[in-house]
Amino acid sequence: MTPTTTATTTASSTQTVSSPTASAANLPAASAVSSDRLIVFEGVSKFYGEILGVNRVNLQIAPGITSLVGPNGSGKTTLMNLMTGLLKPTRGNIKVLGTSPDDPEAMFQKLGYCSQFDSFPRGATAREFIEFYLRVHGFAKQETREMTQAALERVSLTEAADRKVSAFSKGMRQRVRLAQSIAHNPSVLVLDEPLNGLDPMARAEIIRLFRQLADAGMYLIISSHILHEVDMMSDSVVLLHNGYVVAEGEVHGVRDEIEEHPIQILIRCDRPQILAARLFEHEQTVEARIHNDRQGLFVKTRRPDDFYLLLNKVITEQNLQIESVAPVDDDLSAVYQYLITADGGQI
């Protein structure tokens, strides 16, 4: 696996210029690899009328897991939608392994996109949903059935496969969309916040799946605003801010920054006091504060990986009813701000 991502930008607003990663030196440089083997953005800009989506993006993405990181509104989804042809660039060119998004017939044979749009055909079961879109690909019936089954197994949804998607939890619907995007065995997988709504255990398992796919030579482009997950799974990171690529590189730099800055997590549960008491017994917890409505707990930690393991253990021990576990955006924004301004934007 040769994860390399190179990015340059002339974003005058941020006064930032990043260069190809140092780590790429002992690997084939992206620029030396045929563009048919890369995902290439050349001077890509997208404006929504007067509003900037992304501006002057130059990227070359090689196999492996590349995370697009940035606060809400930074341009992550726009970049993904441009790459998959759902949006057309105002300027510039995009090629995915030598294919243009204007040629969907060729491109979507090798690309799958798990978007954030949480909608499904009414009344469809998970299996019907995946099978149907495989039929639209042009696969024969028997093939469709086999591929659907394989995709459902990959995301552990076989037991619920014949239930209506409308009755699924958010996490299950997320997995259905993931199964649909990988069902045709693409070589490029674009995933927009794919871990949203998943419980900690499912997150770990899905990350493991991504890792396996990347190790097998796939290109995974994942957007996330959850830095510790980026840290866990990515080979390289593209940091976006206000529509510009402000930095890119290997992920260890991000990890160092996270360890300096505790992240805050909101856990919605039935007995936050008990959870707080148990979590405070461990050094992973820096701070814990009960939510005003007394149905949740804010926890600060510098070691999110260890913290999530601890959280799983406490939940099981105390038999707590967990509604959701999610990082709190304000604090993450602070980390991004730090990353964007520190060291001239270099990760």
């Binding site: 639209v136 024969a140 197994e153 065995n185 097998a216």
Partner: protein
């Protein structure tokens, strides 16, 4: 999630960069046919079974319901006219109610929702993310709309005509349909209904692609089609209704203010409508190739 760990690197590696063999083998036309049929199967289900279909059923059933009520509550002596006037009577019902209003709005509802409805439901991206030519998508969706509207409005047309005739003059009607020109008239009306679905369908599919709120353009079109009888001959020809009216077996009376023109012969009307439909679908295909998906604000 034991299955996740079962995925071997070899399996995943084998998948990478290897398009499916059967798909590769299929020729373009056979692939497009398969894709069209796949799109048809889902879209037909939506057109007939979704909640949106309820309005279509109501529209299609309206004249049958009205004629049933008319037959049930007819006062003795109501059929004071003669059987020979039935042709004109049905022409008025067909031209004024069924063709100009019900088929028009039924088609508007179905065809405008083919794309606009998916944008509202935020599900169009699934089609756009499949390796399917956008033209194939247009054709598949258009055909599904056509199947739904032609099926329902054919039933409406045939049912209305038979109900009107047989409820008033059963014996004469039987002779008219089995021995006289009735069957030919019925087939002609049926043909006009089908052509109306074809023509209006294409127009409304295009309208649904271009306008975020297609109701206003639909109403403007409705007005244009209704004032057709007042328009000068040249402008009359820029409408669907002119060609359809030229094909009905009994012309509808358009009142004293109508600008009269010779009906366009069938050998011009039918190809003109089909050509017009082809052009509109071509424009729709061109537009959809450049179409972006942004559900924001829908």
């Amino acid at each position: 999630m034991s299955s996740t760990s079962e995925i071997s690197e070899q399996t995943a590696a084998a998948n990478v960069n290897q398009p499916n063999v059967s798909r590769e083998r299929a020729s373009s036309w056979s692939l497009w046919t398969r894709q069209t049929l796949a799109i048809l199967s889902l879209e037909i289900r939506k057109n007939f079974l979704s909640r949106r279909a309820l309005l279509l059923y109501l529209i299609a059933a309206a004249p049958l319901g009205l004629l049933t009520l008319f037959a049930l509550f007819r006062m003795p002596g109501d059929n004071a006219g003669s059987f020979s006037g039935m042709g004109v009577e049905f022409a008025a019902i067909y031209g004024g109610l069924i063709l100009r209003t019900l088929v028009f709005f039924g088609c508007a509802w179905v065809f405008m929702n083919l794309f606009r409805g998916e944008v509202v439901d935020r599900s169009l991206h699934y089609y756009f993310l499949a390796p399917v030519r956008r033209e194939v998508l247009v054709v598949g969706k258009y055909l599904s709309g056509l199947i739904a509207t032609v099926t329902l409005f054919s039933i409406t047309t045939v049912g209305s005509m038979l109900m009107l005739y047989f409820s008033l003059y059963p014996a004469e009607s039987a002779r008219f349909f089995f021995e006289g020109a009735g069957a030919a008239h019925l087939l002609a009306y049926l043909g006009v209904t089908i052509l109306a679905c074809i023509g209006y369908g294409a127009v409304f599919l295009l309208v649904g692609l271009f306008f975020r709120n297609p109701i206003i353009p639909a109403l403007l079109l409705y007005g244009w089609e209704w004032i057709n009888f007042l328009l000068p001959p040249l402008l009359k020809k820029i409408s669907v209704i002119h060609y359809l009216q030229s094909l009905v077996p009994v012309p509808m009376s358009e009142g004293p203010f109508a600008v009269l023109v010779e009906p366009t012969p069938a050998w011009i009307s039918v190809p003109s409508l089909l050509l017009f439909t082809g052009v509109v679908l071509f424009l729709a295909s061109r537009h959809i190739r450049r179409m972006e998906i942004s559900y924001a604000g829908e």
